[in-house]
Symmetry: C2
Subunit: 347 residues, 2 copies
Amino acid sequence: MGRYMQDELALATRNSGMPLEALRYDLTPLGLHYLLIHFDIPATDAATWQLRIEGLVSKPRAFTLAELQRMPASTVRVTMECAGNGRGQTSPRYPSMPWLEEGVSTAEWTGVSLSVLLKKIKIKESTQEIVFHGADRGIDRGIEHAFSRSLVPAEAMRDDVLVAYAMNGQPLLPQHGAPLRLVVPGWYGMASVKWLERIEAIDHAFEGVQQEGSYHFRAVAGEKGVPCTRMRVNCLMAPPGIPDYYGRRRPVDAGWVEILGRAWSGDAPIRRVEFAVDGVWQDVVLDASAGTHAWRRWTARWNAPRGAHELRCRATDETGAVQPLEPAWDVTGFGNNAAQRVEVLVR
Amino acid sequence: MGRYMQDELALATRNSGMPLEALRYDLTPLGLHYLLIHFDIPATDAATWQLRIEGLVSKPRAFTLAELQRMPASTVRVTMECAGNGRGQTSPRYPSMPWLEEGVSTAEWTGVSLSVLLKKIKIKESTQEIVFHGADRGIDRGIEHAFSRSLVPAEAMRDDVLVAYAMNGQPLLPQHGAPLRLVVPGWYGMASVKWLERIEAIDHAFEGVQQEGSYHFRAVAGEKGVPCTRMRVNCLMAPPGIPDYYGRRRPVDAGWVEILGRAWSGDAPIRRVEFAVDGVWQDVVLDASAGTHAWRRWTARWNAPRGAHELRCRATDETGAVQPLEPAWDVTGFGNNAAQRVEVLVR
């Protein structure tokens, strides 16, 4: 785990994480939202962009951005996490983006409810899946393709699934999918297809690379596996104290310290968050919910005694799911929600 | 060079680079501008922020953000590069942010000319240096300090050195120094102190960690060395073709390909850019200058034949300085402006 390849580093310098001190913000400021961009950011033009909806539909048609902006708008606050978050802490490690823990953020997305569009174009009953095609193209696992993902109709028809054109009240930035992207609250980020240019209703299970090849939990390479869908229960704290530039080990002044964190789950509301000092766990104070799909703020107070200490936190959701203390094994390093570990030196 | 430590990776996932396809934009969009943040992003409040100017001045005083915004505003387009850009390609490699080549961007900064403020508070003649103190605090090279840098008065009094409160027409984002930062056009990024809260005139050479300890070109560890100041001549191309997600080796279709890039130098205007295929160099077409401190766009056309090829580019500025083909040795990995290398597979 201690050494990383240059191809991993190249992904880490391109794709940006959310610095953990930004857990202080209810809404992640523009430019601090994590980014995982599989291929290159495409050159798009909002003025001429069209979203085509076709396949097993009675009224196939294309929508311009202006047409979508004239329809009733919805805004949803969404905590989004990369399915590969935490991969960089696993061993052996699959060759991909080596997130340590910073691949998560929260934004307010504004757009048209996908269900409104799907009702307009009338999906046929034979539809098994709805496929979302992005404009970004490249090679992954040896196959050239545009980034595409699918949802079953029941999931696609949820009111809070958006075709979004704004983020935190501003037009989408190029790197977040301008001018249009899908936003699927509660799911890992791969479902929220960026640079959305085509929606297609099909009568079978979509077998694209990013659907069937990648984004599955697999115990051994080559097995069918279980698809990554909703975000597993997780939480993070903003590390207390001040950083050391290289190494980022954190000196903390002795005495009372407030620890601030956020917890989230794509499956159910957060029920409980615990905070541990050197393996001794205690419950923290949870703030009120900030929305069905938004992370929940929590705080703990710690009377820090001098010396080296290990801080950890773990969340439990209403399904009873709780974060493991060590990463669960996964071939591709998906879904690592092991409890965070922060080393501090109290002085 | 092939393997990186976890502490380097942790810096790479925090600090974001500009993906090279963003060379297509004259102005780097918000959130794609490279970031090098030594310590944590401080929690600042624009409503109560004060910039104090003190030391060897006749009229020490503090300015609120609102006061600065009522003064005459200047806007300057600035290409800014991290002094450590390219460090990740050097060997042996100093333990710090392992930029490969993406630590450069261009923004339009708006604020008050620093010279206007310095004239108001009347610097005394005994002043040797002006020190700029940021609010970000941490440990580097074993010493706890706030990030601070200095300039000699002649440099500080340049009209285009700004105390900036806006970037690309919007209030500064937290990660870019909100609510106030210094912007020193032409210099490597470390001079443009973020979260600027205090300016101090002193009668000696400033010896802060980020002035005398770091940011020097040194052939051997421990020597005094030569300060990093203006950006060395450099250029980059947006790699053609499409990427492979892991490894990012680029297939390119055979036939005519347009190559687009940018060139810059902190010392003088760009005079020439050359583009090479497999070691054969040719001059490219330079666009008109976009401003004294902005990168200059260039294009080349290449009739790409099938097979594996190596593309390179290098710039020359009006001082006659030209980029080297291999990194110049520097203990700390600063100022690596070796000509970019892009491997493509034409199909």
